[in-house]
C-alpha cells in the first residue's frame, strides 16, 4: 500500500524535488554572479554579431532586428552548461553525493540547469530590452505567446543535447572541446550565423530537420510572427522527435558511463 501510494505521488514528488533543487541552486549560483555574467556575454555575442551583419545587408528589413532580439532572448533563456556542472561533478567525484541520494541524479542536473537559466534570464533581459529599443523592435503578444510551446520544447532539446555531450565526461577529460563542437553546430545551423530564411533552399530544408534550428531559430521565428500555422506544428514534431532521440541516447550513455565510473578523489 505504501509503495502504490509512493508511486501515485511520484510525479508530484519529483516536481517538488526539482523545485527545491532550483531554489538551492539559485542560492548556490548567486555567489558566482561574475561567472554567470561571462556566460551571458558569451550567449549574446553571437546574436548581436548576426544582427549587425544582416542589418547591414538588409537595412530596410525589420525582420532582421526583431529576429535577432528574439534569438538573443531565446539563447540566454535556454542555453545549457552541463559541461560546467554535471561533467565537473564526474571529474571531481562529487557526483557520488548525488548517487547516494534516493532520487534520480537527473533531478539535481535539471535543477542546476534551470537555476542557471533563471540567473541568465534575469541578467539577459535588460540587454535584450535595450537592444530592442535601440533598433526599434516590436514584438506582438500573440506571436510571443504562440512561440511558448516551441520555446519550451527548444529549451528541453537544448538541455538534452548538451547533457548528451557532457555525458562523454565518463570517457574523456576533453568534454569542453566536445561541447564546444556542439555549440559550433548550434551556431552554424541553429539560426545564429544567419536566419534559416536567408539560407539557400536545400540548406534551409536540411536546417529545418536538424535539431539545432528547433533549439534557437524556430522559437525566434515564431516569436517574430514569420513562422505560423502548420509549420509550427511541423517544427514541434521535429523537436519532439529529437528530444526522444537525445534522451534515449543520454540514457544509454548514462548506463554505460556509470558502470565505468571510478569515483576519482571521493
Amino acid at each position: 500500500m505504501t509503495v502504490s501510494a509512493a508511486q501515485y505521488h511520484r510525479p508530484a514528488r519529483l516536481l517538488h524535488l526539482i523545485a527545491l533543487r532550483i531554489r538551492m541552486e539559485v542560492l548556490e549560483w548567486s555567489g558566482s554572479w561574475w561567472f554567470l555574467l561571462t556566460l551571458v556575454v558569451q550567449a549574446i555575442v553571437g546574436p548581436l554579431i548576426g544582427m549587425f551583419v544582416w542589418s547591414a545587408v538588409y537595412p530596410a528589413d525589420p525582420y532582421v532586428a526583431t529576429y535577432y532580439v528574439a534569438l538573443l532572448l531565446v539563447t540566454v533563456m535556454t542555453e545549457s552548461f552541463e559541461q560546467f556542472t554535471f561533467s565537473e561533478k564526474i571529474y571531481d567525484g562529487t557526483i557520488s553525493h548525488d548517487l547516494l541520494k534516493p532520487q534520480p541524479v537527473i533531478i539535481s542536473t535539471i535543477g542546476t540547469n534551470l537555476a542557471i537559466r533563471i540567473w541568465l534570464t534575469v541578467m539577459g533581459i535588460p540587454v535584450a530590452v535595450l537592444t530592442g529599443l535601440a533598433f526599434g523592435v516590436s514584438l506582438t503578444w500573440s506571436a510571443v505567446l504562440s512561440a511558448l510551446p516551441v520555446f519550451a520544447f527548444g529549451a528541453i532539446l537544448s538541455f538534452c543535447w548538451i547533457l548528451l555531450l557532457s555525458l562523454t565526461a565518463f570517457w574523456t577529460e576533453r568534454v569542453h572541446s566536445i561541447v564546444g563542437f556542439g555549440w559550433t553546430l548550434n551556431f552554424l545551423f541553429g539560426g545564429t550565423i544567419a536566419p534559416l530564411a536567408f539560407l539557400p533552399g536545400p540548406l534551409r530544408e536540411i536546417g529545418q530537420i536538424l535539431p539545432f534550428y528547433g533549439m534557437l531559430g524556430l522559437p525566434a521565428d515564431v516569436a517574430t510572427g514569420r513562422v505560423h500555422g502548420p509549420p509550427v506544428l511541423t517544427g514541434l514534431a521535429y523537436q519532439g522527435a529529437w528530444i526522444v532521440v537525445f534522451s534515449a541516447l543520454a540514457v544509454v550513455l548514462w548506463r554505460a558511463g556509470i558502470r565505468r565510473y571510478t569515483v576519482v578523489g571521493a
Partner: protein, 326 residues
C-alpha cells in the same frame, strides 16, 4: 539474517599504459594499451545486523573500493554483494534511504551556500522524514552534536570538524540502518574525534544500526569495533576479534612499574626492558609469563605502582601490514 553479504568480490580497474618516447606515444594513438589493476580480490565476509566492524588495511588495500561497491557507487567486476537484502549497484531508492556513506574527506556534499538548517530541511523532504520525527531527531542531533551555533551558518563557512558534525547530522536525520564510515575522524582534533566516536557508538547502540568503519586511527577502531576485518592487497587477511588479533601478533604484554629504587639488572632478569625514565620502567614480558613475573616483581621490589598493558594497537597493526597475519 545478515545485514551485509560479500562473496568472492572482485574489482579490477583498467588503467591505460604507455611507454616513453615518440615511437611509443605515436603507437599508443592507434593502439591503446591497458593494464588491469586488481583493487579487490575475492573478498568475502558477512556482517550481522547491529555489528560495528572495523575494516582496516594500509593505503591502497581496497577498503574504500569495497565500501563504494557496498554503497552502490561502484559496479563490482565480479562477485555477489547484498546489503540489507538489496543489490547495491541497482541503487534502488528504498536501499539508498536505508544507508549512509560518510567520508571524512567530503563529509558534506551539495550546495555549499545553504545554511546547515536549510540543508537539514532539504534532507527531510528528500528522505520523506515525517515532520514530528524530524523535529525530534533535529533536537536530539543538535544536542548530541552541539549543532546549535552551526544551524544558521553556511556549509562553505564551516571548519572540517564542523562539517563532519553537520555531515553526521545530515546522514543520521533519516536514521539509516547501515552506516559506512570512511575515515570519519580524518583531520579532526582530539575533541572532535572523541565526539564523533562517542556519537557513533551511541547511535549504533540505540538504533541497532550496522556500522562498517575504515580508519587509519587505531583509536577509532579500538573504541568502536569489537570485530576487525583486515584487508591488504585486495584480500582479507584477518576477520575476527580485535583482542585475538593483538594476542596473535603480539605474544607479549607490557608491564609498567614505578619502583624508584629498583635494581636495573633485576628488572632485566624479569623481562626485556624497553623503556626507563625517572624510576618508571616498562618491561616486555611473554603473555604466559605475565602473572608469574608481576608476582615476582611485587615480591622482590619496592613497587609503588604497577600496570599490565597490551602492546599499542598501532604496533600490532603495523606488524600485520608489514609481516602479514600468518
Amino acid at each position: 539474517m545478515t545485514a551485509v553479504v560479500v562473496e568472492d568480490l572482485c574489482m579490477t580497474y583498467r588503467a591505460p599504459i604507455r611507454g616513453s618516447g615518440w615511437k611509443e606515444t605515436l603507437s599508443s594513438v592507434f593502439n591503446r594499451q591497458y593494464r588491469e589493476v586488481p583493487a579487490v580480490r575475492n573478498v568475502s565476509f558477512t556482517l550481522a545486523p547491529g555489528e560495528v566492524v572495523g575494516f582496516i588495511g594500509p593505503n591502497g588495500a581496497g577498503k574504500t573500493t569495497t565500501m563504494k561497491i557496498l554503497s552502490g557507487l561502484l559496479h563490482a567486476t565480479s562477485g555477489h554483494v547484498q546489503v540489507l537484502g538489496f543489490t547495491p549497484a541497482q541503487r534502488r531508492s528504498d536501499f539508498l534511504r536505508r544507508i549512509a556513506f560518510i567520508r571524512g574527506s567530503q563529509p558534506v556534499g551539495g550546495s555549499q551556500e545553504l545554511t546547515v538548517l536549510d540543508t537539514l530541511r532539504y534532507q527531510r523532504l528528500l528522505y520523506e522524514v515525517p515532520p514530528a520525527e524530524y523535529r525530534q531527531s533535529l533536537a536530539e542531533l543538535t544536542d548530541l552534536l552541539d549543532l546549535e551555533d552551526l544551524l544558521q551558518r553556511q556549509l562553505r563557512a564551516l571548519s572540517l570538524g564542523e562539517k563532519m558534525r553537520a555531515g553526521l547530522a545530515l546522514s543520521l536525520l533519516y536514521r539509516p540502518q547501515m552506516m559506512f564510515l570512511d575515515e570519519p575522524t580524518l583531520g579532526l582534533d582530539v575533541t572532535g574525534a572523541t565526539t564523533m566516536r562517542r556519537f557513533v557508538a551511541e547511535y549504533a547502540e540505540q538504533t541497532g544500526a550496522t556500522v562498517l568503519l575504515t580508519s587509519h586511527y587505531m583509536a577509532d577502531v579500538a573504541s568502536l569495533c569489537p570485530r576487525l576485518v583486515l584487508i591488504d592487497k585486495g584480500k582479507v587477511q584477518y576477520d575476527g576479534k580485535l583482542d585475538e588479533l593483538a594476542a596473535k601478533l603480539s605474544p607479549y604484554k607490557l608491564v609498567r612499574l614505578t619502583a624508584p629504587n629498583a635494581d636495573e639488572q633485576r628488572l632485566r632478569d624479569a623481562g626485556e626492558l624497553v623503556e626507563a625514565s625517572n624510576g618508571t620502567w616498562v618491561l616486555r614480558v611473554p603473555r604466559e609469563e605475565v602473572a608469574r613475573t608481576t608476582a615476582r616483581l611485587l615480591t622482590e621490589l619496592d613497587v609503588a605502582d604497577l600496570a599490565v598493558e597490551e602492546a599499542p594497537l598501532e604496533a600490532v597493526i603495523d606488524r600485520a601490514y608489514r609481516e602479514g597475519v600468518g
